[in-house]
Amino acid sequence: MSVRTMTGAEMIVKALVDQGVEAVFGYPGGAVLPIYDEIFKQNRLRHFLVRQEGGAVHAAEGYARSTGKVGVVLVTSGPGATNAVTGLTDALMDSIPIVCLTGQVPTHLIGNDAFQEADTTGITRPCTKHNYLIRSPRDVASTIHEAFYVARSGRPGPVVVDIPKDVQFAAGVYRPPEEVKHKSYKPRTRPEPQAVEETVALIEAAKRPVVYVGGGVINSGPAASRALRRLVEATGFPCTQTLMGLGAFPASHPQSIGMLGMHGLYEANLAMHGADLIIAVGARFDDRVTGLLSGFAPNAKKVHIDIDPSSINKNVIVDVPVVADAGKAVEAIRRRWSARGGRTNYRAVEKWWREIAKWRKRDCLKYEHDDKVIKPQYALERLQAKIAGRDDVYVTTEVGQHQMWAAQFLRFERPHHWMTSGGLGTMGYGLPAAIGVQVAHPDALVIDVAGEASILMNIQELSTASQYRLPVKLFILNNQWMGMVRQWQELLHGERYSESYTDSLPDFVRLAEAFGWTGLRAERPEEMDDVIDAMIAADGPVIADVQVAQMENCFPMIPSGKAHNEMILGGMEDPEAEIDAEGMVLV
């Protein structure tokens, strides 16, 4: 091997190429000019210029989440780095592998309050899985390789590499990825046999089991979803998914009982509440899932499969912790269970399914149809009808009511097709994320289900999609309110709608046209199908402005601080009385 020296910037680009990177989302600036110069001179990496650095991180998240690869971001020092902070925090909360390269002022100016200087490693320390400041050209290649290793290993997450401008110019010797081994970070991926054995014993004895799956299954890769399906089918257990876990188990599968949690399905939440065994796979007992902790699944033994030991016993004390990769653990459990005879308490589980069937009959997503006004649920039902059966449809969302309705009404049959900001709840995530997804899957149908308030948070990214001819579709459920804020104000703050009306909205059709997009509008239910058809058929990017009922609430809902059996249902019945009765039966 030659020991030819390269500049830091050359090594950065070579390291990215050697890591298999094809797309970089970024925005240039003074402190990253040498890297941009190297990008200009080559054609292995494609750079996608966003309109604000926050968009770059979300685009990389969409790219990563829809491919299973590491998403890559390149931004300049100071404001470039600080604009990236929200996206980094988002990726940390949702365990999305990101490597974010930030420029830094030259080493000798660090600490001098130089122009566009920010303490990037200091600012991003709590919102990254790890971060680095490269101080010598000697460390450039090894640090970038290590960053990729850290970002994708164990529980994935964002990693920042801060690179002073003088280091980008200085000469050093490149080291290939094979030569870089991490000293301390070696996450455990195989389950302990004892934990597997204990889980199998619980599976054999369970009368009212639930498999509760989260985004960890998706992070583990498609093999984990296949292993999960084999285990669920072999045991005959019901399977519920978190917001992040949608698609990890097929929505149309008869054993799927849908999403659980604050806006989850009645049957899923009551099954969790009544369960005597919960097998959590790559899920973290988040507060949106558990509701009131002291009332959470009071009679259940809990098995918790998670690759991150700090997730175990964090919110909920579990009986059997299984620290391992979700796919490997599920497969090990299924094999051991089969080897021990593949027994379940079949009769009891059958009885359990009959109970679940009763809850399902409540049809908790039922809503009152309106002939004159488009109900948001109706818009999504029609969208689902139009995309059903296609396996090239990817959906992203913003954050709020539309996000929960999308989670309830759209059906995901496979992993990596649903991108949403779950943990951080970042409004403005969906459009840049959709751009990242479309970059990774140029021929796919990528739809951002948005609200009119969220979409304005990163609306500048319309221009990015135009520049790269990315035919993303914005499906805006426009109710002229920050719907979820309005809903909470209605239900919990005496209908005092403080600052939640989105006044002075743009004309989204003309806005679309201003950016070279196609603008469509639906105002009446009978227009819905035509608008969706036109949106899907268009070659280029489209905004579909769907004017929906303004005061619609998203149900079911577990109010904050309540348990699963205290869910509010929509519709005309008196929900309180109903739930109390169900609760009495269960507890």
Binding site: T121, G122, R125, P126, K129, H130, N131, L133, V150, G154, R155, K183, S184, Y185, L293, S294, D308, P309, S310, I312, N313, K314, I317
Partner: protein, 171 residues
Amino acid sequence: MTATEQPQEKRIFAVVVDNEPGVLARVIGLFSGRGYNIESLTVAETDPTGHLSRITIVTSGTLMVLEQIKAQLARLVPVHGVSDLTQEGPHVERELVLVKVAGGGARRIEALRIADIFRARVVDSTHRSFVFEVTGSTEKIDAFIDLMRPLGLADLARTGVVAIARGAESM
């Protein structure tokens, strides 16, 4: 029982980390960011060839929180290992204090006499002051400081606890 109702326990964690910039900030940030207590924290390089430092943290919390602290420390990328010295068998713990006592006359003599009982060393002496060095358990040091207070205690500096497991095993 909710987390706040559970009894608090004291623990000593030893954490072996890469000796590189930002590691201490990361550990401290973890404690402040997640609302854990730090009663004392000491850090110094212990392996110059391997560039490793050892951090000793005295903390307290409920069992659930203590388990979290250990897991959260262990998952930091530059952390090589975490030992819960309180849990993992017998250990010895020591703290060092430098105590400045100023004054004269009988109080000065009494200070010297007590220092002798505590096996304190005099590391600085003027006509108007002594600086004593005491090594021992936190309780012993607390007791020494309490006794020096009425005798002209002027200033003190404590290292915080360092601790190590008994026996032949290493971390």
